[in-house]
């Protein structure tokens, strides 16, 4: 799992070895927000470039980046996608830093450092059908792999997405869900909301029960969402015959350094910023239940 390099992608960049990152691991490069997409009332996607319009770093799907607003603070976020000259982070307004970020406008300068973490096991996923399960903002890290698969469509089998949010308004990445992804060959989209509402003629119900209803055949599965979704989806998948090594999730912990030194993001002897954030259910079984 640690080495998730894929032939079509450059090797994982070891934090600090990237030419764009200062040799002192903890010092960010100066960047700017070039575009802001309003996903929901409390979630926005920020496109970030360096001052000379380059990609701040080249993240693998599932890797993390540390974003800072001058004078406010730093926060670790999953990189939900990358473009030629930018990276994207989808951020929910939950605290001090994220609140200030939501007030920021395009052109706002930021500090950015990364990439951190292991990322998704691309080699393992290659050539296989993949089921993506997301709940709420949990689609953000999962999307980084979906976008990778779409960019390298021939390298992967059927892509199936099961995604749910509390309401229609809480669905993130609507542009992808309803406009872009339906055009991708051999890709199935299943979107649900928790409760029926006017103007929604799609599926209604929680993600775990939707998964049981759809009865996907056992395959590599990448899931991320609120703890309650994970809690009820995992046993459902196991019951349907999904192997623990094929159930992949991504975790979050409080982080300060991102490079395995500040100490706080450990689960047992593993640091989420270095050894994670991506783990299979099989690997999680080896770790203490403290996350």
């Amino acid at each position: 799992m640690g080495n998730c390099n894929c032939g079509s992608e450059p090797d994982i960049v070891i934090p600090g070895s990237n030419n764009n990152v200062d040799t002192t691991l903890l010092v960010p490069v100066r960047g700017k927000i070039i575009k802001i997409v309003e996903e929901t009332v409390d979630t926005k996607t920020f496109h970030i470039s360096t001052m000379d319009d380059k990609k701040p770093f080249d993240p693998q799907p599932g890797q993390l980046g540390m974003l800072s607003l001058p004078g406010v603070g730093e926060g670790m976020f999953s990189v939900t996608n990358k473009g030629e000259n930018h990276i994207e982070m989808s951020i929910k307004n939950v605290g001090e830093l994220t609140d200030e970020l939501h007030d920021a406008e395009e052109g706002q300068e930021v500090g950015i450092r990364g990439p951190y973490g292991n990322g998704f096991p691309l080699d393992y996923c290659k050539g296989k059908d993949i089921l993506f399960i997301g709940g709420g903002i949990g689609l953000a890290p999962v999307r980084s792999l979906i976008m990778h698969c779409i960019r390298n469509r021939a390298d992967f089998g059927k892509l199936t997405v099961i995604y749910g949010a509390r309401s229609k308004g809480d669905l993130t990445f609507k542009e992808d869900l309803f406009k872009n992804w339906p055009q991708v060959p051999n890709m199935e989209l299943n979107v649900t909301i928790d409760r029926a509402e006017e103007g929604w003629d799609g599926h209604v119900g929680f993600v775990p029960s939707y998964v049981e209803e759809l009865k996907p055949k056992p395959q590599v599965t990448v899931l991320c969402g609120p703890p309650v979704m994970i809690k009820f989806t995992l046993p459902a998948l196991q019951k349907m015959g999904f192997a623990d090594k094929d159930i992949i999730t991504t975790l979050e912990m409080r982080m300060k350094c991102g490079v395995g030194k500040c100490g706080r993001c450990n689960i047992g002897s593993k640091y989420i910023c270095l050894d994670g954030p991506v783990f299979t259910l099989e690997q999680l079984g080896e770790l203490p239940q403290e996350y």
């Binding site: 070891i14 004078g71 912990m253 490079v259 706080r264």
Partner: protein, 329 residues
């Protein structure tokens, strides 16, 4: 062995001070710690000091970079590196071992330049121990109180004299610079005294792996106040927070010591805390020292200096916990 009378030790420190900023163990108000050597320094060579030398390499608060922000712009400016060569005289085996532990954290899997800069410019003259304190247990952690790991020079406490033995190339240069003030004598290094605390850590890291859910942790953590004093005096505790100080347009990003004993340490913005009570925090601290660090770096994150035992207001004792693990079924 090259030796000097203890009463004349200041003479060689004065010589070394011409080339290095010399740092020595000394009394400092109500406490004792490593401080820059000066004319009025009250050196403490009879026993180890109360605070470890980790702040020489990893300051309690350390500025990382400056930034300037106007409206929506931000400029980042690296800070100049301060100071030249320095030398610690009189660092003990336990604290030398702690540098080995800190090196694993800060110099492997990505180099922490702030730490490396200080580590690289600091020469180390270790001093042997002859009389263990009440709370010392370095031998139980596999250390030799008279032979420090990683020292440039090993000095020996010979009673009224101090003997010197160069270990590294840099150590040879240090000895060469003070050789004229030393005299060659044949000496016998006195055996160190008896340790009051002896504990067998053999097999404990492996056994702890299966004891995460043990009810023992409820019991152990009950009296802990989560005051964090143990982490503050620990030579190997290295957790840090990153924050900033802002005045108008100017800001400084700094890091400062943090403690796994504090609830905010793992508190996430959304409200979730994976280690919400003192049980999880205490368990994490001891698991880190005795199991997680061993799994990661193949060494214990405890050097037996005994400072945490000495400072704990409720008499928490890591050696008692090791015994408890050992005896658990």
């Amino acid at each position: 062995m090259l030796v000097i009378q203890k009463t004349k030790i200041k003479e060689i420190l004065d010589t070394l001070a011409k080339e290095y900023k010399v740092i020595v163990p000394a009394k400092d108000g109500d406490t004792s710690k490593f401080i820059p050597y000066g004319d009025n320094t009250e050196m403490l060579l009879e026993e180890n000091v109360q605070l470890p030398p980790k702040d020489v390499f990893f300051p309690q608060t350390e500025k990382m970079y400056k930034f300037k922000s106007k409206k929506n712009t931000m400029e980042i400016e690296n800070l100049p590196i301060e100071g030249g060569k320095q030398l610690i005289f009189g660092i003990r085996s336990c604290d030398m071992k702690s540098l080995d532990c800190l090196d694993q954290v800060f110099l492997t899997k990505g180099t922490d330049e702030f730490y490396k800069e200080k580590r690289d410019k600091t020469a180390l003259i270790a001093l042997s121990c002859t009389k263990p304190k009440e709370t010392c247990f370095c031998t139980s952690m596999g250390l030799d109180p008279q032979k420090a790991v990683g020292a440039d020079v090993q000095a020996y406490d010979l009673g009224d004299k101090i003997g010197f033995e160069a270990i590294t190339e840099q150590g040879k240069k240090i000895i060469a610079s003070i050789e004229g003030q030393l005299s060659e004598e044949s000496v016998v290094v006195p055996k160190f005294g008896e340790f009051k605390i002896n504990v067998d850590v053999e097999g404990v890291p492996e056994k702890l792996k299966g004891m995460f859910e043990s009810p023992m942790w409820d019991d152990i953590s009950r009296k802990c106040l989560n005051c964090g004093a143990c982490t503050y005096v620990c030579p190997t505790c290295h957790c840090f927070d990153i924050s900033q100080e802002v005045r108008g347009e100017d800001g400084v990003k700094y890091r400062c010591w943090d403690s796994c004993m504090f609830g905010e340490y793992t508190q996430m913005a959304g409200g979730h805390n994976p280690r919400p009570t003192k049980k999880e925090r205490v368990r994490n601290r001891f698991m880190h020292k005795l199991n997680y660090f061993v799994e990661r770096y193949n060494m214990l994150l405890c050097t037996g200096c005994g400072r945490c035992i000495n400072v704990c207001p409720v008499n928490m004792d890591i050696t008692a916990i090791i015994k408890q693990v050992k005896e658990a079924e």
